[in-house]
């Protein structure tokens, strides 16, 4: 299988190696880190993990520390006496705090460790979502962690990230999905996810999760899988144990077949805009025992200023990026598919807007809308619907963007000062499609290196 985690951007490589590294340092050029990506036999984190909390949340912090120990992580409950340790991660637990004053000590303890956070280290803030029944003080305490987490993300360097697990609906801190999300954020799989606070609801308890093959026995369908991000998603789901059916338009059949044969999957040449695409997808998975995971990745661009937009340019983008997903989901729901995990590709353009992309942004914003509305429908059948919004990802498509625009997209806008790789998007999708993410439903997870573009 191709190495999916090597940086493809020459600047990032140059400022991290040899003579060019020295020059870049002297000139004070931005020096994006080489991000650590998942390897099956590598440790979960780059060093020991410190778990800190306010007094009220100490019980939850203990429960998390216990779970981390079970993953063979070197866990500490105190930074004192740690000497010159470089932290692989710091987990701040504030789940039971009831006033803003109560969290200050824990937050400042976290602050005192940041200078000793290792390259590619992780900060994860575990909190509860503010809810309708909360007192103003409790709501303020809980909501505060969101802005806090994003700000920490912007202060970190050297490939380190800060993300949040936000428990909803009374989910236990050591429930399967809370732990699964914490693990994802601590791991190298979330290399390009930064500054995100992901709501996690209650979930079934899974015993003996196989973290190397979390999708073993599952059947996944990936649309637009002949190349780029779609091919990376297919490879990653296959790596995690899924049987993958790759779908793309008939004209892309040659590379589609190559992807299928590489991952021992099945190729289906199908235009997702076909009226019976959902039925065809069901037929294609029948011989594998039915569908468990559907990744709506197929998408096109037809950039044009709205004033110059032709009907064909608008309609094609809506048909492929949005209407096809609605139709396919409806056909699968009508067929009563149980336990279906749907993950749709949105885009940061869909959230922030982008000049020349009114059609694309409409479609991607629409994806976020239908994901929220589909979530309760699939939940009735034991499934989930989520979206992933990639930022600047290094693909054949972005390689065609003019140099200056590309450099702005890569270096200036995201906190991580670089574009992501297709594998980064694929890792987020693999996480959201897995049984451990069952409590995450109706959410949009950004994979954007904490791009400033957004609401």
């Amino acid at each position: 299988m191709a190495d999916q985690s090597a940086p493809s951007d020459k600047y990032t490589v140059a400022v991290n190696r040899g003579f060019t590294k020295t020059i870049a340092k002297k000139l004070g050029l931005p020096r994006p880190a080489i991000l650590r990506r998942y390897a099956p036999d590598a440790p979960l984190t780059v060093g020991p993990v410190l778990v800190v909390s306010d007094d009220a949340s100490a019980g939850d912090a203990d429960a998390l520390a216990k779970a981390l120990l079970a993953w063979d992580v070197d866990v500490r409950r105190s930074a004192e006496g740690a000497g010159d340790v470089r932290w692989g991660g710091v987990v701040l637990v504030g789940t039971s705090a009831e006033s803003p004053e109560a969290v200050s000590e824990a937050v400042l303890t976290l602050g005192s460790t940041l200078r000793r956070l290792a390259g590619n280290g992780r900060v994860v803030v575990v909190s509860r979502a503010p809810g309708a029944g909360d007192s103003p003080a409790v709501a303020a305490t809980r909501a505060g962690f969101e802005g806090f987490t994003r700000s920490v993300g912007k202060e970190l360097r050297a490939g380190a990230t800060a993300n949040g697990v936000q428990l909803t609906g009374g989910a236990a801190v050591d429930s399967t999905s809370a732990l699964g999300t914490l693990r994802f954020f601590l791991s190298a799989k979330s290399a390009y996810v930064d500054g995100q606070v992901l709501p996690v609801g209650p979930s079934d308890t899974l015993e003996d999760v196989d973290w190397k093959q979390p999708l073993a026995g599952k059947v996944a369908v990936v649309t637009g899988a002949a190349r780029g991000i779609g091919a990376a998603i297919a490879r990653t789901l296959a790596r995690d144990g899924a049987k993958v059916v790759v779908v793309d338009v008939p004209a892309a059949g040659e590379s589609l077949a190559a992807v299928a044969n590489e991952i021992k999957g099945t190729a289906v040449q199908l235009d997702v805009t076909a009226a019976d695409a959902g039925t065809k997808i069901l037929e294609a998975t029948r011989h594998l025992g039915g569908i468990d995971i559907l990744v709506h990745n197929a998408g096109i661009l037809r950039d044009k200023l709205l004033a110059n937009m032709k009907p064909a340019q608008w309609d094609a983008v809506i048909a492929v990026n949005l209407a096809s997903q609605l139709r396919i989901n409806e056909q699968l729901l009508t067929a009563g598919v149980e336990g279906l995990h749907i993950v749709s590709l949105a885009s940061t353009s869909g959230i922030a807007g982008n000049k020349g992309q009114t059609n694309y942004a409409y479609s991607k914003s629409g994806v976020i809308g239908h994901t929220a509305a589909t979530a309760p429908l699939v939940a009735q059948l034991g499934g989930t619907a989520n979206a992933v919004a990639p930022g600047f990802i290094e693909t054949e498509m972005t390689r065609s963007i003019p140099f200056a625009t590309r450099e702005v997209g890569r270096r200036i806008i995201p906190s991580l000062q670089q574009g992501g790789l297709p594998i980064d998007v694929a890792e987020a999708i693999a996480f959201l499609s897995s049984p451990v993410a069952h409590g995450v439903n109706g959410q949009v997870l950004r994979v954007c290196g904490q791009s400033m573009l957004g609401k």
Binding site: P250, G253, E254, L256, T266, A267, H287, L288
Partner: protein, 440 residues
Amino acid sequence: MSTTPSPVPSTREAVIIGGNRIPFSRAGKKYVRTSNQDMFTAALEGLVARFGLQGERLGEVAGGAVLKHSKNFNLIRESVLGSSLAPTTPAYDVQQACATGLEAAIAVTNKIKLGQIESAIAGGTDTVSDAPIVVSDRLRAALLDANHAKTTGAKIKALLQVRPKDLAPATPGTGEPRTHLSMGEHQAVTTAKWGISREAQDEIAYNSHQNLARAWESGFFDDLVTPFKGLTRDDNMRPDTSLEKLAKLKPVFGTKLGETATMTAGNSTPLTDGASAVLFSSREWAEERDLPILAKFVDAETAAVDFVHGHEGLLMAPAAAVPRLLARNGLTLEDIDFFEIHEAFASTVLTTLAAWEDEEYCRTELGLDGAFGKIDRSKLNVNGSSLAAGHPFAATGGRIIATAAKLVAAKAAETGRPARALISVCAAGGLGAVAVVESV
């Protein structure tokens, strides 16, 4: 009309799961410098991807190429080794001119029916763009003599036999070794004998392009073809051709016969590059894997005619093979829903149909009581055939079998009763292979 399935054979069934081919391309275009092995491997890879056969050990893979270099003695086995199939899948080469692909299918389905194997792929490939170049017989003889000679003197003496004109390569052709006539010239004689008109031939060609184009547009080939080298559809197809345009073409065969020549580049197949493969198995093998079963490969027949002495036309063997095949299976022309008659030339189809309608011919040549019958033309090559798709010799059989299997499956699903297709392929050497495919 018989609505009951064909008599149950004494052996078990061989079923067709699906097929795959690369788009066919006119010689000298997209697949220039692409070898037979590259093309057949691509056809296999698409089939493997379609049915998830990676690492699978199949019973066997059989196929071949008509224009084949001696270095490709194990063409099919080498293609298997270059594919994602298990390297423990046996393979062998078959060659029966234009009937190669169909003959390979007959061979593997017979083994499946006998229980010798559970699964197989049959197919073929041909390239004119990458055809082997042959040296002249005199040069070859001199080189072989020099190689066998024991002394330097004898070697020099052998090489001195070579004359400048011997250095010209023998161009690859489709001429018959015994008559030295090209296939087109042979067919021109048959066409004239049966009095087939230019208009009737052009109409066959026109329908072929129209039908193939409609099939492509409707997505019929979405699960039968995998693009290759940037080509996504058959590039010989001319959806915009018209009877007027076809009528303007100059005849190229039969111009010296003394009668008005009727065979043009428009109603004859062009030289083409391409490859195809079809997946067959026992019913059990397909059901164990929950793979779709399109149809069963019911039975087949081959025939040959004496064209050397001019008794019969070179490409008329299927006219004899079909009545024997249908009789053995208790079928008549009325029981057939789709006629897939390979369009080597438009007139090949027409002379075959004319022969079956001719009482005298059927009595004296085919040993029947009277005319074999007339077919419903609306059932003929409904999704196009070789005039439009092109004809990479050994790949044509696989193209037709997969198309026929899909047609009968769709028809049976629509009508709720069995549907049958008759496949007929004529070949050089006065050969012909025919088969019946039936829905399950």
